[in-house]
């Protein structure tokens, strides 16, 4: 299904998150595209782009360096121009999806809308996947943190009330039910109050 492209577009990926751009490079290679360079540091960006001469630049939507690329695009016609300019001729839905996934691109004139769309789709999918992974990691971290706090609150109660673990736990559950608040919130409150007494 994924026939190799006839012409190898030269792709430049600019992303300060090296792990994400590695994931994207792999995905683009699998589709038969050539990622000529990945930049996670944009010092001297204009010179780098002039040397690399990419056909398409994939860049994080929120990167402040996009305004540098906007300047380059005004200088000469062989320099990649903002992908939103191709929204009129190509598929604006693709571009909108990419932007919502946090991806933008700069594209040289003459590249076919199909190719732009295909690269943008791959990039958007990888950005979304990476975001999902990151969210999952954040959730695990938060759960771990909640667990730590519950434990700390329990130990503080045991110390101040001179009671056992089960009793301390039941006291916290009762507070959570009485106040209609989650256990993690109760734990935080207990820590902030009892720590003052320590």
């Amino acid at each position: 299904m994924n026939a190799a492209p006839h012409i190898q577009e030269r792709v430049l990926v600019i992303d300060k998150d090296a792990a994400r751009s590695a994931l994207l490079e792999q995905a683009l290679n699998d589709q038969g595209y050539e990622v000529v360079c990945r930049l996670d540091d944009t010092e001297g960006l204009i010179n780098r782009v002039e040397q690399i001469k990419p056909d398409i630049i994939i860049i994080e939507l929120d990167s402040p360096d996009r305004d540098v690329l906007e300047h380059m695009a005004t200088l000469n016609t062989h320099i990649p121009r903002p992908v939103v300019m191709f929204a009129e001729t190509g598929d604006s839905n693709t571009i909108e999806q990419a932007i919502q996934a946090g991806v933008s691109a700069y594209v040289v004139d003459g590249m076919s809308p199909d190719r732009i769309q295909s690269i943008m789709d791959v990039a958007a999918a990888r950005f979304r996947e990476f975001q999902a992974l990151r969210n999952e990691l954040d959730n695990v971290r938060n759960e771990l943190e909640d667990h730590k706090q519950l434990d700390q609150a329990k130990r503080l109660i045991m110390k101040h009330q001179n009671c056992g673990e089960e009793q301390a736990y039941q006291a916290m559950r009762k507070m959570a039910m009485d106040q209609g608040k989650p256990m993690t919130q109760i734990a935080k409150n207990i820590i902030s109050v009892l720590q003052m007494l320590d």
């Binding site: 402040p64 005004t74 932007i99 933008s104």
Partner: protein, 392 residues
């Protein structure tokens, strides 16, 4: 202080509104309108979205992912003309403040100039001598940066250079860098000067890499810089929402104009969801809202003559090559008529005209407006030039 009447405007067609901003001090009217409840008083539920670049703001407004945004004044004009973007007509009926920029030169350049001339540094004539000397000795061109191609920063920098006979396109390299990177790039010798908003000029001095030689105010007294803009199709579909937004923004601008509110305003602006992370590198006492004028001198009024000045600079710099009727573009994009409708309902004195000549007033002057007299600020150019919107 001006008393603003809370008007009964038509019910907004759309109440859930998403607006974009960049973490710069002059996003203040948007943040204050939200935090002080001016938006909600108008029946609007506004979410503010912090963006990373002007390009991102433009893309999201064009695609409808944002309803409106803080923009460099050149962006709605460029977008309406299809310059550097698809041709999407935009409108602005609110100017976000006057002044706030400055030009900084690096210490090595300042030292070299001081060996050539004892002229004051606020003129670029010393720089012109240095450029000439470097050309004669085949030294590489100097590089100067602004923040975006279609920005007041770019046009003020070019204007300042041109006034001393420097050809900004051939005698040096003009480039673009995010303001956060300017001082660092100067330290590394990658740029020799730049034009940016505060606090990015202060930072160069703080880091000991350069000094501001002239402020934007000195180049052009009370010059415009940024606007609040929406697409024309958004305005056509939501005229009452637009009016409600303008009413809240005007209230925020008037609130910001009072120095006794500045500490509270900084507290709100420095919240983590706004400027907190971007400005955490600076001590708070270095941050000031005083350099920008938000309401007095009709600062929030979208003068069509300001649009014409920007369009004229676009032509001068070669960004705009088509032969077009600049006045027509200025009239389509800058909409003082919408501002006046809101100002009339809010019952405060405001200009009744669309254009004003620039470069004629060296001090405050009085304009007979609608609903009373309006005190206006000085509008001189540093080189004594004038700009008559009827001539260009």
């Amino acid at each position: 202080m001006t008393i603003l009447h809370n008007p009964a405007l038509a019910t907004p067609e759309k109440q859930q509104i998403s607006l974009g901003f960049l973490p710069l001090l002059d996003c203040a009217p948007l943040v204050i309108a939200k935090e002080k409840g001016f938006f909600s008083e108008q029946g609007l539920d506004v979410g503010l979205s912090r963006e990373g670049s002007w390009a991102s703001i433009r893309d999201k407004v064009i695609l409808g992912l944002l309803d409106g945004a803080q923009m460099l004044a050149g962006i709605p004009l460029a977008s309406s003309l299809g310059l550097g973007s698809p041709k999407v007509p935009m409108v602005t009926a609110f100017n976000i403040g006057l002044n706030g920029n400055a030009i900084t030169l690096s210490n090595p350049v300042l030292e070299e100039i001081s060996t050539l001339t004892d002229q004051p540094m606020h003129s670029a004539e010393g720089l012109a001598l240095l450029i000439q000397q470097r050309q004669e000795s085949n030294a590489p061109k100097l590089t100067m940066a602004s923040v975006y191609p279609y920005s007041a920063h770019n046009y003020l920098l070019r204007y300042w250079l041109s006034a001393a006979g420097i050809d900004p396109d051939n005698d040096l390299n003009l480039t673009v860098l995010p303001p956060t990177q300017m001082a660092q790039a100067m330290k590394k010798g990658q740029i020799d000067g730049y034009c940016a908003g505060e606090p990015w000029n202060l930072i160069a001095r703080e880091m000991g890499v350069g000094s501001a030689v002239i402020s934007g105010y000195e180049i052009w007294n009370n010059c415009p810089d940024k606007v609040f803009a929406v697409t024309r199709s958004w305005h056509d579909a939501h005229p009452a929402s637009h009016q409600a937004l303008l009413c809240a923004l005007i209230q925020a601008a008037a609130w910001l104009d009072q120095p006794q509110h500045h500490e509270e305003a900084l507290d709100l602006l420095l919240k983590p969801e706004y400027l907190g992370p971007a400005l955490s590198i600076l001590p708070r006492e270095q941050l000031s809202l005083r350099t920008t004028c938000f309401f007095r001198y009709a600062a929030s009024y979208p003068w069509r003559s300001h649009a014409l000045w920007f369009l004229y600079q676009m032509q001068q710099s070669g960004q705009l090559n088509q032969q077009i009727d600049l006045k027509q573009v200025a009239c389509q994009v800058y909409r003082p008529d919408i501002y006046r409708e809101v100002a009339h309902a809010m019952r405060f004195p405001h200009p009744a005209i669309d254009c004003k000549p620039e470069g004629f007033h060296s001090q405050e002057w009085v304009l007979q407006g609608s609903g009373g007299a309006v005190t206006m600020g000085s509008d001189l150019f540093f080189n004594g030039a004038t700009f008559d919107p009827n001539v260009c």
